[in-house]
């Protein structure tokens, strides 16, 4: 073993210790009103030492281990498969999509209330991710403040209902349009920016919106948030036990069925489902329209796009506006689902998670983004037992993903149409 390897292995082991010991090796315990620091259990300390030892041994014999691993026959049976033919792939994709939609329609009637609620959240994230996919995946504009538009949607519904008593169905387009307007407004100053600079400015924008909401206490209630956001109604039918607004009837009385809190949850889920499907279809159409191609062209090569007479202003603004529009959609649904919103729900972490969904799913790919949205929302729920380590697991999953499949779960594939030959 070369001295170089030994040095490297020692270094790695020490780094492991430095990182893990302070995190795992101490506990904060409260004794009465005092908080004291105590050492963790011996087993944890031993575990940390063992981990450091494993890292040390692995790094020491890394060349041998990796060498013998490489000699193993290909473990991945999919490694050498040929790409599927386009016609076959499209068929498979549409079958899968139909199955998914049918499954999603049946879901609320077979699953528990909690599961339906979670599914609604998944759908909200799907809408958000599809919207951000336009900005990041297609137009290639790294937007770290996307959550701001989500917040605009949510708050516009909350405020409109609080001050003007506007119902969900009116607030939905208003919220989306307001968010789109904010997208347009943000679009102007960032037109000249690209890459890192754009990311920083959008990040700042996201924070500005959140801090504004936090501090305009007289209007938004500040950190206390806004509560009592009404549920959506079905043609004037309310889902509560008692009718809140005059002139409305209640759902269970109209249909003569017993009241159940589940009706509301299922109804919200179905609304979210319909909106998510609309979002997916609308963006799919846009992608195939000239404007979609213009987004991609601008992402690929700005100078070339300009040389063809495309206006950078129009293309970038349209991407920002449309992305923001769907975030506004999602925000309105979110406000209605929660019944209560506060700036806490629109922190940077949300932007990061939505961005992570887009990257994990494969930039520009709708199927990939939808799958990633499901995975990213559900996995933390499944891993509730490890709630302390949730973010650590999430981070590890991201790193592994980027090592093994940097193009995302289902990278975007070009769909092409065969022109009929003239003969």
């Amino acid at each position: 073993m070369a001295a170089h390897n030994l040095k490297h292995a020692l270094f790695c082991a020490i780094v492991t210790l430095i990182i893990s010991y302070p995190i795992l090796g101490f506990n904060l315990a409260s004794e009465g009103i005092d908080v004291t620091l105590e050492g963790a259990k011996t087993s944890t300390v031993l575990g940390v030492l063992l981990a450091a030892l494993i890292v040390f041994l692995f790094q020491l014999y890394r060349d041998n281990i990796m060498g013998s691993l490489r000699q193993l026959p290909a473990v991945n049976p999919l490694a050498n498969r040929k790409p599927m033919e386009q016609s076959k792939r499209l068929k498979l994709e549409s079958t899968l999509l139909t199955l998914m939609i049918i499954g999603a329609l049946i879901w609320p009637f077979i699953a528990s209330r909690g599961a339906v609620d979670l599914a609604t959240l998944v759908l909200i994230y799907i809408m958000l991710a599809l919207g951000l996919n336009v900005v990041v995946g297609l137009a290639g504009l790294l937007d770290l403040g996307y959550v701001a538009f989500y917040a605009v949607g949510a708050y516009s519904f909350a405020l409109l209902s609080q001050y003007f008593g506007i119902s969900f169905w009116f607030a939905l387009p208003i919220g989306a349009l307001l968010a789109a307007l904010f997208g347009l407004v943000l679009g102007f100053p960032v037109l000249r920016l690209r890459g890192d600079y754009l990311a920083i400015v959008t990040l700042g924008f996201g924070e500005i919106i959140r801090i504004l909401l936090n501090n305009m206490t007289s209007l938004t209630g500040g950190p206390n948030g806004i509560g009592g956001i009404p549920d959506p109604t079905l043609f004037g039918m309310e889902f509560g036990r008692r009718v809140k607004e005059e002139g409305n009837t209640s759902f269970h009385e109209t249909f003569g069925i017993a009241y159940s809190g589940e009706h509301k949850v299922i109804f919200l889920y179905l609304i979210a489902l319909v909106l998510a499907v609309i979002t997916a279809i609308a963006i799919r159409r846009l992608m195939r329209m000239p404007v979609g191609r213009a987004w991609e062209a601008l992402r690929e090569d700005e100078i070339a796009a300009k040389s063809l007479g495309l206006s950078r202003t129009a293309v970038k603004l349209s991407a920002f506006t449309i992305g923001a529009f769907f975030a506004g959609f999602a925000g309105t649904v979110f406000a209605s689902k929660q019944g209560f919103i506060s700036p806490e729900s629109f922190v940077f972490l949300e932007s990061a998670i939505i961005l992570a969904i887009v990257v994990l799913g494969g930039m520009g790919s709708q199927m990939g983004v939808i799958l990633a949205a499901i995975a990213v929302t559900i996995l933390p729920e499944l891993a509730r037992e490890f709630s302390e380590y949730r973010m650590a697991i999430f981070g590890a999953a991201m790193v592994l993903m980027m090592v093994w499949r940097p193009q995302g779960l289902m990278p975007m594939r070009r769909i092409h149409i065969e022109l009929k030959r003239q003969e």
């Binding site: 000239p290 191609r293 213009a294 991609e296 062209a297 992402r299 690929e300 090569d301 100078i303 070339a304 796009a305 300009k306 040389s307 063809l308 007479g309 495309l310 206006s311 950078r312 129009a314 070009r414 092409h416 022109l419």
Partner: protein, 233 residues
């Protein structure tokens, strides 16, 4: 077709073009040759309005475009093949071509697409391939094809032979000759002076931001100064 009158262009405070006058007449091939840093690309970019000329006038088809926006200029019957090809590498050949005809109707696009495939049968073979996976020569063909998609009256080529094999360069110049036969005016900017002047009706020699010589292509080829400076003696 295209007239530049005493054009000065600045990058910040530095003047890159010191009063350049160039004329390209309808149906001509005009070559602009010059060494690295002479201002060839700047001149083209000034025509496209990015950066705009600080003084002087740029007139395209009788209209003053000196202060027009780039996107408007590029939609008024002129097309440019930018230096270094700049195809959309993630898009397929066909999609690249469609981008070229962005402001045309579908039937026009189909017609120009057929036409481009006639000029470059190679592109037809590669129709559904990602542009970035093609060879340099094929990408250059695609870049020219893309520029032709908008059915321009005039096409500007910025160093179409850059980084290509001699055989491919020959093909590209043949195609440029064909464009003239179709009635498209060609403004060619090249370092490859010999071929560019051979093909051109007229030529300009640009040196450090000024037009040094202006003559027919044949005369420039025979000019001892040009031979010394650009044709390797």
């Amino acid at each position: 077709m295209l007239v530049l009158e005493d054009v000065h262009t600045h990058y910040g405070k530095i003047e890159a073009l010191h009063g350049v006058s160039v004329e390209v007449k309808k149906g001509e091939i005009v070559s602009l040759i010059g060494a690295n840093g002479a201002g060839k690309t700047t001149l083209l970019m000034t025509v496209c309005g990015n950066p705009q000329a600080t003084s002087g006038r740029v007139i395209l088809q009788g209209r003053d475009i000196t202060r027009d926006m780039t996107s408007n200029i590029m939609r008024s019957g002129i097309a440019i093949v930018p230096e270094g090809r700049r195809v959309f590498s993630g898009l397929t050949v066909e999609e690249n071509l469609h981008m070229g005809g962005f402001f045309n109707t579908k039937s026009e696009i189909r017609k120009s697409q057929e036409h481009v495939y006639e000029l470059f049968p190679r592109l037809k073979e590669r129709e559904h391939q990602r542009a970035g996976t093609m060879s340099g020569g094929e990408q250059q063909m695609l870049a020219i094809g893309r520029a032709l998609m908008s059915r321009p009256n005039m096409i500007i080529l910025d160093e179409p032979s850059l980084g290509l094999a001699p055989l491919v360069i020959k093909q590209i110049f043949e195609i440029i000759g064909k464009l003239r036969e179709e009635g498209i005016t060609v403004f060619l900017v090249e370092q490859n002076a010999h071929q560019a002047l051979n093909l051109a009706d007229r030529g300009y020699v640009l040196e450090t931001g000024r037009i040094r010589l202006h003559d027919t292509g044949k005369n420039l080829l025979a000019n001892p100064d040009v031979q010394n400076a650009y044709l390797g003696g």
